[in-house]
């Protein structure tokens, strides 16, 4: 059973400026017993999530909405296990795949095909899995001979296709998606939609952060509103105010 439970989770971000990042300051702090540190340049703490609790079970597709900076990406990263909560507890069961920052793990000097391997490994696929998926990925990207050229020669749209194809072929149980649509030409968007739908049918839990309410409505059956680090479950009818 795939599940994703948050129990009173809070996330605090330490923001280091050059002063607090430096060793000198740490040494001064030790030497002076910590008084200086409080006076000048203490670590600023930004609390990105405050006592967030929810339960996402198998079959749930959650749309995550909220303004820029509301904490959507932080929440998704906490779900993925990248950030550990300062207080509270996260229960996560099931294999997670992330579709966050599309550029992560790519190397511009390597060919498209080599980058498929690289991304596949980074997203947790095994050698045989990548081998099995290779032709489907190649087919989906429609890059043809371009796959042999280095990634730096690709247009944004081409790179996007490749990354999307790999990320959607990992067959995860829990899929976390952060605003990945909206790039690429129309033809690609249509194909991406079809592929996304097939993927969604195999995924047990989906969490999808987006500003595009049509997409959220289309793919999700539960809706979370994130405001000032607090999560509130809302009704589908309330989505219209964000359009």
């Amino acid at each position: 059973m795939a599940k994703l439970y948050f129990d009173n989770v809070s996330i605090h971000y330490p923001i280091f400026n050059s002063r607090t990042m430096s060793i000198r300051n740490q040494l001064v702090r030790i030497a002076t017993g910590g008084i200086i540190e409080r006076e000048e340049g203490g670590v600023q703490i930004v609390s990105a999530l405050n006592n967030v609790s929810f339960q996402i079970n198998e079959g749930d597709a959650v749309g995550l909405v909220g303004h820029n900076g509301a904490g959507k990406s932080t929440l998704l990263r906490t779900m993925a296990g990248v950030y550990a909560p300062a207080t509270g507890h996260v229960t996560r069961e099931g294999r997670v795949a992330t579709l966050f920052d599309m550029g992560a793990g790519m190397d511009p000097e390597l060919s498209g095909r080599e980058n498929i391997w690289r991304m596949g490994f980074l997203l947790g696929m095994s050698r045989t899995q990548i081998n099995d998926e290779m032709s489907a990925i190649e087919d989906f990207t429609q890059l043809g001979d371009f796959l042999e050229l280095p990634m730096r020669t690709y247009s944004t749209g081409m790179a996007m296709r490749l990354m999307f194809a790999v990320a959607t072929s990992t067959a995860p149980e829990i899929l976390l998606v952060d605003e990945v649509f909206g790039t690429g030409d129309f033809e690609f968007q249509k194909k991406a939609k079809v592929r996304m739908q097939t993927l969604l049918q195999s995924v047990k839990i989906l969490v999808f952060a987006s500003h595009a309410m049509t997409l959220v409505r289309e793919h999700c059956n539960r809706f979370f509103l994130l405001e000032h680090g607090v999560v509130r479950e809302i009704d589908e009818s309330e989505l219209s105010q964000f359009e």
């Binding site: 330490p14 430096s22 060793i23």
Partner: protein, 259 residues
């Protein structure tokens, strides 16, 4: 369960990933050069030849004795210093990967050591070429290189982990390392051997790098490593891993926020 130890074991299970990414980084780096990684080998040849002939006269040591020892020293130094210089960036340069995919952290220090080891493998033939040209007698003691290399790599792994954590938190560390490394090159027995020094041999053994270098250099030159060198290396292993795992465990949950 200890977070650090769990992470390290998960990373070891993902060795395929580590090897693939490590090798593809090497490939990417040399993609557009004709000689590729052979540039490293060539660099070592030039360094060993040039420095060897000059310094053997300066130090008044016969060439056939000095040049192989210098070559071995240079090659080992490049491995050790490479891990230190790249280890500092181990986590900070991989910020995008760390923040966007869920992977055990320890794959990054592993990759740093692997990449430097690949470089080391490119350099090793230079030593054997020099040894052959200058009639160094090959013998069975050279087989000590294998266990000694394993010991060295195990030591470099904790070093890369420790430096990676420190480098992610304190961005000054990279500058300190860059400043200190050239000095360390001259104060470590790279160009010379501890017993060349008239009075300071004992002081030289206080430098931990002397132990790391001599551990490999002795077998390369055909003698088993001295017992005390093996013992200090084993001591580094225990102390280093304890320290690195302790710090890693303590800061495990903060690491992602530092990047």
């Amino acid at each position: 369960m200890n977070l650090a130890i769990t992470d390290i074991f998960q990373a070891i299970q993902r060795w395929q990933l580590v090897i693939f990414i490590g090798l593809s980084n090497v490939k990417a780096r040399y993609r557009r050069s004709v000689l590729g990684p052979l540039w490293l080998t060539l660099g070592t040849v030039v360094g060993a030849a040039g420095l060897g002939f000059l310094w053997s006269e300066l130090l008044k040591v016969p060439r056939h004795e000095f040049v192989p020892s210098l070559t071995a020293g240079l090659i080992i130094w490049q491995f050790v210093s490479g891990v230190i210089m790249e280890g500092v960036y181990g986590f900070s340069r991989q910020a995008a990967t760390i923040k966007n995919t869920s992977q055990p952290y320890f794959i990054h220090p592993m990759q740093v050591v692997l990449q430097q080891f690949v470089n080391f493998l490119h350099n090793i033939p230079v030593f054997f070429l020099v040894a052959w040209l200058l009639d160094v007698s090959f013998n069975l003691n050279m087989l000590w290189v294998l266990p000694c290399l394993i010991l060295l790599i195990l030591n470099l792994l904790w070093l890369a982990l420790l430096l990676g954590i420190l480098g992610a938190r304190f961005r000054d560390i990279e500058f300190i390392i860059n400043m200190v490394m050239p000095l360390l090159l001259f104060t470590s027995p790279v160009f010379y051997r501890p017993n060349y020094l008239p009075f300071s041999e004992d002081i030289m053994w206080f430098n931990p790098f002397s132990h790391l270098i001599e551990l490999i250099r002795h077998p390369l030159l055909g003698s088993p490593p001295p017992d005390f060198v093996v013992l200090t290396n084993l001591a580094f292993l225990v102390v280093g891993w304890t320290l690195a795992v302790w710090l890693f465990n303590r800061k495990y949950n903060s690491l992602a926020f530092w990047l």
